[in-house]
Each structure stands twice: as structure tokens, then as C-alpha cells.
Symmetry: C2
Subunit: 458 residues, 2 copies
């Protein structure tokens, strides 16, 4: 009777996890024998409101995909039966059967602070191979970068107070909750409530009780004592089920064994102060106050500036959906193509959507204190001072990269963010960080325009 589907992605069907047009273009290139090597770049054209930087994230899952994408028999049978593919020859499906990525990939390491227009990822491979990756790479990098960026804003606002991810229930499906937990950690969170994420990533997992625990017992006091009996070392009690201050007094009766209390509703500034006084009056200065409930960087900033007695923030919805900017306009564009031995720069002119051609590198200049001063988007190999940010991660289809631990990624983000001057980190109307285009790049654009004009003069 059970015909329900989980719709879980699986490795054997990774080839189908894309937009149809990637596969129809692949068939088209194949049928024409177009074996040119092409370079595509992934970047974010414009940043959302109140963002002047991004924290790059999602590369590990992108690399997993690139090195595992393939077409199983089952996937190929499905494509063969599509009416749109009726005229596609059998040899294309044979090609898919043996498909494996064989190209080179350069990328900014996760945790790197990046800006609008900068390539986060650069792929050079046979045209078909590079093309097919687009959809999956965009959804992977767009989402994790959004959340890592949001997390960095929230942890910035918290000024050294702990922030943890509580957002799984509001993420875009159970899988998105796992990816969000990862990205939030890279952006600066200290842990997550998501057990699967903690298991996979080896990061701290947090959480104790919900309102249901309190409601399921005969009384609030009873529920507190029972929880303490089972979790004597981890007694963090939710005190707002009926009345917060009464809840605080009942929690205090646990005594020295009480580790923390959580506030989840009401005026957190006022309540945190009152609860702190109740706890302190009982000699429970060590008890931590955790706050949750529709928090974001703006509310946390206000609470911290006003001296709220909060030690830890549990942030959910706003972080895992990057609620004020729930989508990042990442694009993946053809920038260069090797045709009959010549490298041809490629660009598009679409209204408001024009792109720069050529294989690019991002060069970061620092001031004498090591703080970020200016980025230059130039051509790979162009003679430009500054540290190149794109590093090779895949060579001839094989990983050639020492994958950092997630703690190292978090350190990269925290080090980068420390070097980014404050005006660029303001929560509202941050200054725009200076990103220049090199002379080489401008010349490349001129060259591309000339070529395209001469080819499209019909």
C-alpha cells in the first residue's frame, strides 16, 4: 500500500539532478562534435540589500558532485524515453554512460570573504562537461554562501556571545537544514541543534527541552525536576511555557545543578534582566541565559547594545532561510572557449546582464596591518600585485586539494572577517568594498566585443 517517495537525491542518479536544458545542450554539442575546451565561471552579479560581502561556502559539496556525477542505466533509460530527445542518436547515450568529469577547477576556499562580480569557482573542461554542472553548482554555492554570510552578520552582531543554529524546522526541507547547519558553522556559529549535521560534520550539537516537555508533565516544577534527574550535567530549562518569571523561580530550585535557562518569547531585554536577578539572588551566577524566538542580526544587535543579560542566542528561521535575502543571484557563465587551437573570449550583452570574458583571477591587496584594502579582478596569469584567491582544487578530474576541516573553514572566515574593515560589515548600508577591473580584463572585453560583432554581422 505504501507508495510514498522520499525524493532523496542519491549518488547513482546525480546526473539527473540538473535542468533539462543542460542535457539538451549537451546532446546538441555532442551531435555536432563540439569538443572545444571551455571555461565557465560562477559569480554573484549583485549582492542583496545591506550586504557588502559574501562568505564563500558550499565548495565541498560542489567538489563531491563534480567528482561523482554520472549517468546510471536507469537515468539514461529515462532520458532516452523523453519526447524532446527523440531525434538524439544512440551514441550520445553511450557517451553519457561513460561520462566523468575530466577538467580543472579553481575555487575560493570556503570561508573566504568575497565580493560582487568575483568568480567563486572557475571550471575548465570539455564544453559538455563544464555545461552540465551549472544547475547543481549554483544551487549548492548560492545557498550555503547565503547562509554563511547571514551567519557572519548574526555572529558579528552578537559581539563574542555564542550563537547556535536552531533552524532545521524552518529550513527548505530536511536536507536544507543540514546544509544550513554546515554553512552557519562556517559563518561563525558554535553549534547546531541538527543531529544529522553534527554526526556528519563533527560539530557540537545542542539542545535540551521544548514546551512539550513541560506540558507533558503534571506541573512545570515536576517537569524541571524530572529533566534534571535524567540530564544532571545538561539541565537547560525552557521557562516560558506558562509564566516566565515564575518559571525562572521554579528553575532556580534545581540549585547548583542548573546549567542554563532558555527564554523563547516576550520582551527578551526586560525578561533576561529580571531572570538574571532571580538567578543571582539564589547564588546561581553560573547559570547561562539562552534566548531564542525570531532572532536576527538586527534584534541581536539591539539586545546586545542595550545590555541584555543573554549569554547565548539560538537563531533559527532568519539564519537558515537568510530571510531578508533568501536567494543569491549566482550565475555561471561561459567566458572562454578553445576553438581550433585559439582561445576565444566569450561574453553576453543581455540588458543589465552583460558579463566579462576571459579566464579570471581575483587579486586581494592588503594594507600594512594586513587588512583588506582592495580587490582587482584580472586575468589569470596577469601581472598584478596582491594575493590570488582562486586556487586549484581539481586537476584532470581528480581532487588535488587538501580539504580543510570545517573548523579550518570557520577559522578562514573568522580571519577574513577580522581583516575586513568595519564600515563594510555595518548591518545597515555598509560601504561598498572597492573591486577594480584590471586593464587586461578591459582589453579582453574589447577583444570579445570585436569578435562577436564580426561574427554576428548578418
Amino acid at each position: 500500500m505504501d507508495k510514498t517517495k522520499s525524493l532523496f537525491l542519491t549518488e547513482d542518479l546525480l546526473g539527473l539532478a540538473t535542468d533539462l536544458y543542460q542535457l539538451s545542450m549537451a546532446a546538441g554539442y555532442f551531435e555536432q562534435g563540439m569538443q572545444d575546451t571551455a571555461t565557465f565561471e560562477l559569480s554573484v552579479r549583485h549582492l542583496p540589500e545591506n550586504r557588502s560581502y559574501l562568505v564563500a561556502a558550499g565548495l565541498e559539496q560542489a567538489l563531491h558532485y563534480i567528482t561523482h556525477v554520472a549517468f546510471s542505466q536507469e537515468a539514461i533509460r529515462f532520458l532516452q524515453r523523453l519526447p524532446a530527445f527523440k531525434h538524439v542518436g544512440q551514441t550520445f547515450f553511450e557517451f553519457l554512460k561513460n561520462f566523468a568529469f575530466s577538467g580543472d577547477v579553481y575555487a575560493m576556499p570556503e570561508g573566504t570573504v568575497a565580493f560582487a562580480g568575483e568568480p567563486l569557482l572557475r571550471i575548465t573542461a570539455p564544453l559538455i562537461e563544464a555545461q552540465i554542472l551549472e544547475t547543481y553548482l549554483l544551487s549548492t554555492i548560492n545557498f550555503q554562501t547565503s547562509v554563511a554570510t547571514k551567519s557572519s552578520r548574526i555572529t558579528f552582531a552578537s559581539q563574542e556571545r555564542e550563537v547556535v543554529d536552531f533552524g532545521s524546522r524552518r529550513a527548505h526541507g530536511p536536507q536544507a537544514g543540514v546544509l544550513a547547519a554546515r554553512a552557519a558553522f562556517i559563518g561563525g556559529c558554535k553549534g547546531t541543534s541538527n543531529v544529522f549535521a553534527a554526526y556528519q560534520l563533527g560539530i557540537p550539537v545542542v539542545g535540551t527541552i521544548a514546551h512539550a516537555w513541560v506540558m507533558a508533565h503534571e506541573s512545570e516544577r515536576d517537569s524541571f525536576q524530572k529533566f534534571h534527574a535524567v540530564f544532571p550535567d545538561n539541565t537547560v530549562l525552557l521557562i516560558d511555557t506558562y509564566d516566565t518569571l515564575t518559571g525562572a523561580r521554579r528553575a532556580a530550585t534545581i540549585g547548583k545543578g542548573l546549567k542554563g535557562i532558555r527564554l523563547d518569547s516576550g520582551d527578551l531585554l526586560k525578561l533576561s534582566g529580571e531572570v538574571r536577578r532571580i538567578l543571582d539572588a539564589e547564588g546561581l551566577q553560573h547559570v547561562r541565559i539562552v534566548a531564542s524566538g525570531d532572532l536576527n542580526e538586527y534584534r541581536i544587535d539591539e539586545l546586545v547594545r542595550n545590555g541584555a543579560a543573554i549569554d547565548s542566542f539560538g537563531v533559527g528561521t532568519e539564519m537558515v532561510t537568510s530571510k531578508d535575502a533568501p536567494a543569491l543571484g549566482g550565475i555561471y557563465k561561459l567566458v572562454e572557449q578553445e576553438h581550433e587551437g585559439r582561445l576565444i573570449p566569450k561574453m553576453k550583452f543581455s540588458a543589465d546582464k552583460a558579463t566579462y570574458p576571459g579566464k579570471k583571477q581575483v587579486y586581494r591587496k592588503r594594507d600594512t596591518d594586513g587588512n583588506f584594502r582592495e580587490d582587482i579582478i584580472g586575468l589569470e596569469g596577469e601581472f598584478i600585485a596582491g594575493k590570488p584567491l582562486l586556487t586549484q582544487v581539481i586537476k584532470d578530474g581528480k581532487a588535488c586539494y587538501h580539504l580543510p576541516t570545517i573548523y579550518e573553514m570557520q577559522n578562514t572566515a573568522s580571519d577574513n572577517l577580522a581583516r575586513l574593515p568595519k564600515p563594510f560589515k555595518r548591518l545597515n548600508n555598509p560601504e561598498v568594498y572597492p573591486v577594480m577591473k584590471s586593464n587586461g580584463l578591459e582589453r579582453k572585453r574589447q577583444e570579445a566585443e570585436d569578435i562577436i560583432a564580426s561574427q554576428n554581422n548578418d
Copy 2:
């Protein structure tokens, strides 16, 4: 060298796909021998701005989870090693080893139009079993319901013109793109660009070429001819890579074999009219015009009202992220508990977050034309006129439900939406649909308040 992780959810680790506190509460209930049967309800407290209704979606994946959630040896070993679980006895982990859901579930079928405060799902099971499900059910139902609702708004604005999902690249990870394609279809979309979703769900998959196709060829004209050669029956050409009107003229040279053109930038109202004239002048009245590029219900409404010559809308970012309302405040609350043979109503009083107790049912009243007039949230079994919307889907842990096809779910949504009067469907400031609480429910709340007051009088 490859240590990259996909972080894909898998059936054997479903037990970990939750918030830690569900498992710590489970351990707590277990250690106390709390075997009470409990009822939890999932509802959405307040609707986002400019929403007066929801289209329920995600039930199939919720049911899949409920009937498959379990704890593998590997999952249990992880939990045993958590410092927080140090004092939890071995018998709890034995219990997890044999965990399987054994309770009853009632739900609104997917595609049902629902309103704020109405239970979409009601679970009655031993306390631990019902508790553990919370996080996963919320993330599943919250997300798909958001997208199905957004899709219904977009297809409503399109007034019978086709809408298809192009959003995978901007969804919250590759898995969210699949779930979004499903929910968008239930809400009224005619197809998706996501191949994996189409494969799994048997829904139409759409798409032809991207800018890269045009750019990869020597000229735009060449790229059009080459595509037509491989896809003679499915030649839909993207014409804005360099200049839209020139692109239209070049596409027209394909002649009768041209199936459609796509506009992806610029002033879609103006360009669609000009392109239509170019095509018609060549006798290509049959060629369809597809538009895409940051579309939402408001922009589509404006285009349609102004007579844009657009036959099909490809909608991405705005739909798959429900961009103006990227999170739904779904909650999952304990409402009743059977303790020592008595049914005890449960509620919480938290500021602005109070809940109603008791096992509820939603009764829908129609007018003589069959249109929706009013809903009443009452108690299950209460004598109330109107059609009960919650139907049993799981009995004693087993599915007891004829799972509709996704086409049937789409029909349910379309039938429900047709019966919902227009003022409730307005894109801006829709009227609030009347949802009443029954006398039985109000009495139940009074009863619960009395019980809780008497129990918490310390």
C-alpha cells in the same frame, strides 16, 4: 585524497534528521516510564503578509518519513557517545533500536486550501514517538506548503497562461529544488526544468537552451540552426544573448520548424509585442513566446493586465524560495495526553504564542454554489455541520490511505482554489477568510486553563 561529503540524507540515518532536544526529551520520557498516548498538531499560527490562505503540500514526504524513521546501529553509537547523553541508560538505546512509529495520523490531503490556525496534520501516538517527529515534519510541510501557495498565486496571476518551474539553481540546495518542483506542480505549474523531479514524479520536464549555447557557437544564427538540426520538434530559442530583436529575426529564419522563443531580460512587455510582430510578419503565428527572468505574481499580473504577448512564464527564484515569505511559521504542539485513563487537554500560554488544547478537526462550510464560506475549528467528533478536512492517513503505524497521484493533488488544489472567492485570492491585502472556533473548543480551553492553574499553584 577525496574526503568530500555529499551530506545527503539516507533512510538508514533518518532517526538523526532531527533536533537534539527531540531525542533528549525522548530519553527523558523513557527514563521516567512515561508511556502516555499524546496528540500533537501541526498548524501555521499566522500567515505571511499578503497571504490569506495556504495550499497544503508535503504530506507524502511526511508520511514516508513517519513510516520509515528508525535508528541504525551507527546512529545509536553516535548518540551513545554524546556527552549530553552520558547518564542515559542502555535500555533507552535498546528501545531506539526497535523504534518504529505505531500511532495514528490524520491530515489534510495535499492541495487542500487551509487557513491560519488550522491543523494540517494530527498525530496520536505514544508520547516519545509523536515527539520525535516534530522537526522533520515541520521542515517538510513548512517548505512545500510555502512553495505550493506561492505557485498558486503565480498561476492565478497568469490567468490560464502556462507557468513552469525554472528555479532549481536558486533553491536552497539541490534537494530543495526537487521538493520545490513538486510543490510548484501541486500549486498549479505545468512542468519543471528539474530532470530528477520529473523522473521521480512523472511530471513534464521543460527546457531547451541557455545563453552558453549561443555563445559557444561562432554566431547566434549558426547556434540557432545547429540546435534546430538536433531538436527539430523542440526548437525553443533564447534570443536575448546579444540583441533581442535581431535575435528574433534570426530565429524566424528557422521557419515553420520553430516552436518557440524565450525572452530572459529587458522590458518584457515591450519586447514581447515587438517580437510577436516580427514572428507574425513571417507567418509564424504558431511560435510561442516564453518569458523568464525574476518573475513573480506581481510582475506577471502587470504583464498580463497590460496585454503582454507572452504564452508561457518560466518562474524561478521567487517561486522556489517563496521569496517574499521564505519561511512559514509552522508549529507542532502537544494538545492532549492520555494519563492514567484520563484525556488531559494541553496548551501553552507563552506571550503571543498561546495554543488551543484538544484533538481538533476542521469543518468547512460551503454556500449553495459550492463555494467556501467559512471554516470552524472544532473538536474531533463534535457535532458541527460542514465537511471535515482532516482524514486518517496512518492507522497503528501503517498507511491506510490511497495516495493520490500528483495530478490528483494538483486537481484538488485547482478545485479548492476555484471555490475560494476572489477577495481571498487578491495578490495584495486579501480579505481574511472567516475561521471560527467552536463552542466545544472554547470549553476545552477553559478546562485546560483550570487544570494547568491547579497543577502549577506552587
